[in-house]
Amino acid sequence: MDGSEPGDGQGFSRRDFLRGAATGAVVSSLVGQASAADPPAPSASAPIVSGAVTAQLMVNGHRLQVVVEPRTTLLDALRDGKAPDGKPIDLTGAKRVCDRGACGSCTVLFDGKPVYACSVLALDALGHAITTVEGLGDVDRLHPVQEAFVQHDALMCGFCTPGFVVAAAGLLKANPHPSPEEIRRGLGGNLCRCGTYSRILEAVAEAARTGKGA
């Protein structure tokens, strides 16, 4: 999967627009600054890291080179980070909403466990296996949780969906046969402003029933 958002196929996406309008300018100036005035240090695992370095992250089973600073969160590295050659990482499945560990939209699996990517430094992800929603399944081969979300129409605006899907996949990995209460608790770190909770709970229960959740 190329990491693009649903709707990219139409030739226009909100993200492209935003990137052109504002986001891109900020990101490129940041990286540009780092490579001109403050060349990346050789190692992201130096005893003290300051300024930009190239970190090797393990994302969705692939080694990923990304230029980060100590303050770069894992979420920002995935969404807005660039490889040393300037190529965008562009894994935009994890969403940046509250950016304070309060909403769950940025949920990724960290060694198989759900965490908020906005609340982890990218440099703290070195040596850990990261799975984003892009790594769970794709359009041709949906993850059972994704399949169940489709079957149960478990989304409205869809912005919280990647976070819910990843949190649910993490839950079923740890507990393949959760009780309804355990599903509620397991998804207690994700918010849906549209209020699709009942269908989300049905979908996850269904994914668990089919026994393919993990």
Binding site: A46, T73, P114, L121, R184
Partner: protein, 329 residues
């Protein structure tokens, strides 16, 4: 977030060295679930974070030969909630860990970080506001919106203590092991926190270059302990009140009680009047109610949080009954 440098020490002693600096310019990073948000909001602006996650051996849960529970400071809340020895012998601690934050937060948030989280007050956490806790003249919550704040108020700052673990750990009479420039020292949970009145510069007795490396919890054999919380939302909400009650009973009579309340005072609130009210008596609906009333008699609620007095009294009564295994706990 402002730029900072990230240091990766190989030992606790090296971490202390790297933390040593002027004021609080250097700060420790563990799970990051509190400090990163505070840095994004520019409430805290350290120039160096010392990443404790590289320290070896601090992510273990062990029961030692004396039967004490040893928790490394980097043990996550998820580890704590799932650990069999903790669930069996220190169940109130496992239950409190399971209620904290969300699954995502519990997967990264650590024991040490939970104990050292910063005050949860909207005035403190709004960077432009210069409240008493940040060196300003006045506590803005005292005269402002204080609906979630302390009902056992000290002067100075009324932000309540929200650490999910501090309340049960205080009741279990645990201590933290602290590494500092002069070596290690032990600090009892009951002595760890400082209200603004007690110390205007810090909310714990830890110096800027000291770190918690371990929590040691004495054996709880023979104690009957319960932990209960009330919150508005079922998940991802800080409690309006929490209570841990530990009873040492003999033939149905309370020999000794420890009653600790959380989220109602700037520090974990040890209620001596409630403990005294239970001593020498059997736990019944009536004695539990009397003890809860004794505890709340000391309350001095603020303008918007009078409701917390009745709520905490009811919570405490139910927690006492639950600890004793009586009736509606």
């Amino acid at each position: 977030m402002n730029a900072f440098e990230l240091a990766r020490p190989k030992s606790a002693a090296e971490a202390v060295q790297l933390l040593t600096g002027e004021g609080r310019q250097h700060m420790a990073l563990a799970g990051g679930q509190d400090i990163l948000a505070l840095m994004k909001d520019e409430v805290l602006q350290p120039v160096r974070l010392v990443n404790l996650k590289s320290l070896p051996g601090l992510n273990r849960i062990e029961v030692d030969r004396q039967g004490r529970l040893n928790l490394g400071a980097l043990v996550t809340l998820a580890q704590l909630e799932a650990a069999e020895p903790v669930r069996k012998a220190w169940s109130a601690l496992a239950e409190a860990a399971a209620e904290a934050g969300t699954p995502q937060i519990r997967n990264l948030g650590t024991v040490g970080g939970n104990l050292c989280q910063k005050p949860r007050c909207w005035y403190y956490r709004a960077a432009p506001l210069h409240c008493a806790r940040k060196g300003g003249d006045a506590c803005l919550a005292t005269t402002g919106d204080n609906r979630y704040h302390s009902i056992f108020a000290f002067g100075g700052c009324v932000a309540p203590s929200y650490s999910a673990l501090a309340t049960p750990l205080t009741a279990y009479q645990a201590a933290v092991e602290v590494q500092g420039p002069g070596g290690t020292r032990q600090v009892k949970l009951a002595d760890l926190y400082r209200s603004l009145e007690q110390d205007p510069t810090a909310d714990t007795v830890l110096k800027p270059n000291e770190i918690i490396t371990r929590v040691v919890v004495p054996p709880a054999r023979g104690l009957r302990v319960a932990h209960r919380e009330v919150r508005q939302m079922a998940s991802h909400d800080w409690p309006l009140a929490m209570a841990t009650v530990a009873l040492d009973t003999n033939g149905g009579t309370v020999r000794q009680a420890r009653v600790v309340l959380g989220a109602v005072a700037p520090i974990p609130w040890i209620s001596a009047p409630a403990a005294a009210a239970l001593k020498g008596k059997p736990v019944t609906g009536e004695t539990a109610r009397q003890a809860a009333e004794a505890a709340l008699k000391e309350a001095t609620p603020l303008s918007e949080n009078g409701y917390k007095v009745r709520l905490t009294a009811n919570l405490l009564r139910r927690t006492i009954l639950a600890a004793a295994g009586v009736g509606e706990g």
